[in-house]
Every structure is written in structure tokens, then in C-alpha cells.
Subunit: 333 residues, 2 copies
């Protein structure tokens, strides 16, 4: 039900994924009076793989997380997360209110022992493919210990999604020299240096999109990560807007646009944020994927696919194991 487009995006995306992955089973959670009429044919076509779980309430995009948690006990996001807790679903995918989704997930699923705070991870397009980044906004003022835990958890996501065994981990900072940065970052660097992780040192903001191939995972505080992410969105929006304006100026530029269309389309596909949609909440005893609120069907499909891969690769279980390993390793040191 969530996001700016609701079932308009989520339903076509769901049906597409059911078509593409014959092993996928989906439970669509929401108001059945709205969903049933939209799914009549699909419930027949995907019998046994598609079902509806009724939820009478819906969390508004601007609702405060605490109010949603208190007053919306039958919201679509709460019911979907309950399904994960009860083992009836392997993951929950939502385009709804981020704060409410995080608060509900934390309350219902509980934290993995040893993890202080949950974090949000996503991938970003880059010159060499993409880079994974966390935290993107679950926390502000993260301690060095939290940053270290983010790295341990994020590394498991990167291993699963990229099929690599030893992802290169960088710490986001304002310079590559040892003396740079704030106290938390400097202390986190020490923890990472003495860990099992493949820690490569500090990286700067330009590594997010234009870094060399040296880094697979970038770790930062959620305040910094969220502002970097939004800054990049703003820069991309500005460039797109200038492109559109310049190519739409007059007849000549419009002809140029027509001729360049295949090229401009390739470019769009390379950096299309919809193909990177889906952020995973880490640190919880269950998998929750947040889709961008403005996701269209293609973008929401990407988020569902992300959930499928993380379930298949057993990411939550692996995170629990690695966290336990990292903590016991430190205790015995």
C-alpha cells in the first residue's frame, strides 16, 4: 500500500517478478477491498504462489514513527513484518514511510545480539559498476563501535550480492591521510585495522560514484551517508534537468536530441537509480527491504529482486554468525 504510487507500482512489479522467478511466492499485504479487484486474474494465474493478507490500516508517508507504532497495529507494514517474525515470510519489502518501517521492524523483529543499532545499506551506481554504502540514515552520531558493526554486517551483504569472498571495506572520511577526520572515524579505523575484514582505509566522498575499483563497501554515519546520498540525487537531478532544457530549446536541439536518443538512453540505463532501488535494514532478526517512496513498477521490482537474492543467500543468518565471530574474536584478544 505504501510509497507515492501504492498498488499502481507494487502490483505490476510483483506480477513481473512472479513471472520471472518460478520459485518466488508473494504475499501482498494491504486492504483486500482494494487489492482483490486488482488481482482477480493474477490469483488464478499464480495460484499457490500469490496470496493476499488483509491489513485494515495504512501508515501515511508523513506519519511520525512513534505514532505509527502506537496507533497502527493493523497497518500493512506492521502485518507484513509480523509475517517475517512468525516465519510465514522470508522478507518484507515496502515502499512506505522509512522511519515508521524502521521503528516497526526494530520493535517487532528485535535486534541481533551484539548489534547496538540497525543500519540501512544500499548500492549506488559508479563508474566501475556499483558501490555499497551504509549507514544511509538509520542513525546519527554513530560511535566507532557502531561503525565497526556496520562494516561487519555490510560485508555480508556485499559477499552475497556480488559473489565475492573478501569485499574491500573503506571508511568515509574527508581525506585519505591518517590525521584526517573526526574522533569516531579515527577510532573506527583502529577497530577495522585489527579486524578480520579486508579494510583498505579511508575513502573520500567521490569514491561513492567515481571511486577506483579499490572499494566494494563504504561505511559511514547515517547523518553523513544520508546527506551524501541526497547530494548525489540532487546533482543527478540538476544534470538531467539541464540536459532536458538544453535539448528541448529549439528545433535544432530537438533534432540533435532525436539523433542522440539511443545514446542518451544508454546513459540513462547505466545510471538509472531505479536499477539500484532497494535498501536493506541490517541488524534485525529478519529481512526488511525499503524501496524508494517514489518507486515506479520497475524500481519496485528491483527491490523485490534484492529481497529474493538476500533470502536465497541467507544474509541474515550469516550476519548473525559474523557478528558473533567478531565479538568473540575481540573478547579473546
Amino acid at each position: 500500500m505504501g510509497g507515492d504510487h501504492g498498488p499502481e507500482s507494487t502490483i505490476p512489479a510483483s506480477l513481473d517478478r512472479l513471472r520471472e522467478n518460478p520459485n518466488l511466492q508473494l504475499i501482498l499485504v494491504g486492504n483486500e477491498q482494494i487489492l482483490v479487484p486488482l488481482l482477480e486474474q493474477a490469483l488464478i494465474d499464480f495460484k499457490g504462489r500469490l496470496s493476499i493478507q488483509h491489513a485494515s490500516q495504512c501508515v501515511a508517508m508523513d506519519e511520525s514513527p512513534s505514532k505509527a507504532l502506537r496507533n497502527k497495529k493493523d497497518s500493512s507494514m506492521r502485518v507484513a513484518i509480523n509475517l517475517v517474525r512468525d516465519g510465514q515470510a522470508d522478507a518484507c519489502v515496502s515502499a512506505g514511510n522509512t522511519g515508521a518501517l524502521m521503528a516497526t521492524a526494530k520493535f517487532v523483529l528485535k535486534m541481533i545480539p551484539g548489534i547496538d543499532r540497525p543500519a540501512i545499506i544500499s548500492s549506488m551506481p559508479s563508474i566501475f559498476g556499483h558501490t555499497h554504502v551504509l549507514d544511509l540514515g538509520a542513525n546519527v552520531d554513530s560511535s566507532a563501535e557502531s561503525l565497526f558493526q556496520f562494516a561487519v554486517m555490510g560485508a555480508e551483504v556485499v559477499k552475497a550480492l556480488e559473489n565475492i569472498s573478501d569485499p574491500k571495506v573503506g571508511l568515509l572520511n574527508i581525506g585519505e591521510e591518517e590525521t584526517k577526520g573526526n574522533e569516531q572515524v579515527k577510532a573506527a579505523a583502529k577497530l577495522l585495522e585489527s579486524s578480520d575484514l579486508n579494510y583498505i582505509g579511508y575513502v573520500e566522498g567521490n569514491s561513492l560514484n567515481a571511486g577506483d575499483e579499490k572499494v566494494d563497501l563504504i561505511v559511514c554515519d547515517g547523518f553523513v551517508g544520508n546527506i551524501a546520498l541526497k547530494s548525489i540525487e540532487g546533482a543527478a537531478k540538476m544534470i538531467t534537468s539541464v540536459l532536458k532544457e538544453s535539448f528541448g530549446k529549439n528545433l535544432l536541439t530537438k533534432v540533435a536530441a532525436l539523433i542522440s536518443y539511443p545514446v542518451l538512453n544508454t546513459i540513462k540505463n547505466r545510471i538509472d537509480p531505479r536499477l539500484h532501488n532497494g535498501a536493506s535494514f541490517l541488524g534485525l532478526k529478519g529481512l526488511v527491504i525499503k524501496s524508494h517512496g517514489g518507486a515506479d513498477a520497475l524500481a519496485f521490482k528491483t527491490a523485490i529482486h534484492l529481497a529474493e537474492v538476500e533470502v536465497e543467500k541467507n544474509v541474515i543468518q550469516k550476519i548473525s554468525e559474523q557478528v558473533e565471530h567478531a565479538l568473540s574474536r575481540r573478547e579473546s584478544a
Copy 2:
């Protein structure tokens, strides 16, 4: 002498500005054995307006600020800043090592009374023109009081450069709601709300390039500002790289590029970072402008021009007055 290109950029830029502004006088500070042969004709053409000040040393781009301060007492940047302190120059423009330039400027020029820490301000291209942002990396872990002081100082720069009387000031945060953000940002918001400034509230990362017209000056901690700036640089680099690659792919795409050249050129001019080059150090008793280290002649020229405008508008004097006003206003409250 500084920057990646040294006199190759700084000299043509200087001569261009001397040609364009008949009221401008420039003292080029550096090794005269290098500079004199390059300037023989120029010293005649701009007699009375162009001179050389010898400096026997040069701070390396990767030299530590403390070492530069201790060991390079006759470096070009130190000598240039001395000229400002002694009233022989109204401003110093350098493409050298940022940390060393800041440390030297702070040591030689001293701080304006009432200002705790210096800050770096620059403008960024945006959909609606440009936005001014500070701090871009002089500080980490800025207190609420520092953020407030940045706003007071930044507002004077915006007034001078944009010819507006009451610039709209926003505080960079991870959401626009009151409850969002870290402790420093929330406390800074309270200080700004009760000030004389035209404070408009929180803005998010996308406001840097793609904000609506509601904000003229964005205030943030230097850690956050530097990472946002570098993230934007990375995003722009990725998009440029994908553009080049896609248009250069084969004969057809190359023809498309040729036809689209005027359009692509317009776009480049709109968002060319060289036309936004030049960051001002604020909080010091003298004007120092930092050019990007990679600046070519066009970019360095922009930085010189920035210095001219800030001198003409008496920005340093106005900052001192406003800081005094803001402090006495608070004391009497």
C-alpha cells in the same frame, strides 16, 4: 606556485584578469627565477599594476600543515599571507595545499574576535543558479555555536556576491522535520531561530544542487560539507564519464555527438565547476581565497575575480561588524 599546474595556470589567469579589470593590481608571489622569465613582457605591459614578490620556498601539495608552518617561513603562500597582514595586499589567492594554507592564514592573520573557528565557503551550481555552502572542510565536529557563527559570516558573503540584502539561510539536515538530525544541528536551529538572520529551517542534501529557490546559503559541519561536495564531484565525474563513453562508442554515436556538440557544450558551460572555483576562508582578519588544486587558467581566473569582488564589497570588515552585532545582541537578550 601552488596547485597541480603552478604558474602554467596562475600566470595566464592573472594576465587575463589584469586585462579585464583596469583597477586590479596583482603581486605574484613565488620563486623569481621561475617567474621573471615568464613575465618579462607582462611586467612592461602592466607596469605599475603587476609585480613579483620573491619567495624562496614552496609548500608541497601533500606536506603536513604543521610542518609547512614550522619549516616553510619563506614559502610563497606564507609570503603572500604576510602581504595581507601588512596591508600591502587586500587578499591572497592560492591553489596550494588547503590544510597548510588554512593553518598559515590562521597563524599569520589571527581570528576575528568572537569567532571560534574559521570556515570555508564556496558556491555550487544549481538548477536555479547557485547556492553557497559552508563549512566545506575546515572543521569536524562543529558545535551549535560554530554553526551559528558560520551562518552569520556566510550571510555577509552571499549579500556581497549576490547583491541581496537578506539571504535565506538553511541548515543541512537529514530531513525537514523538527525531530530529525543530530544534537548539534538541533541546537544550532534554536540559535538561528532567535537570530536576526533570515533562517528558513532545515534543508536536505539535494538542496545543494537541485533545491528550489528557497535557500541562498546552506550551513553545515565541515565533515558533512566536504563529503557532500566530494560526493557531488564524484557523481558529476561518473555522469561525464558515461556520457563520453556512450557518445564515443561507434561511428553512429560519434555522429550523434557531433550534431549534439553545441547542446553538450551549453550543458558543460552551465555546470562547469571551473566557473564556481574559489572558496573563501572566513573568520580571519584578512581575505584568503583557495582555488581548487587542479584549477586551469579559466578556473584560477574565477578565483581571482572572487577575491576582487569580496575586496570591493569589503566582506571581511562587514563580517567583523556582524559578528560583533550578533554577539552583543545575544548578550543583551
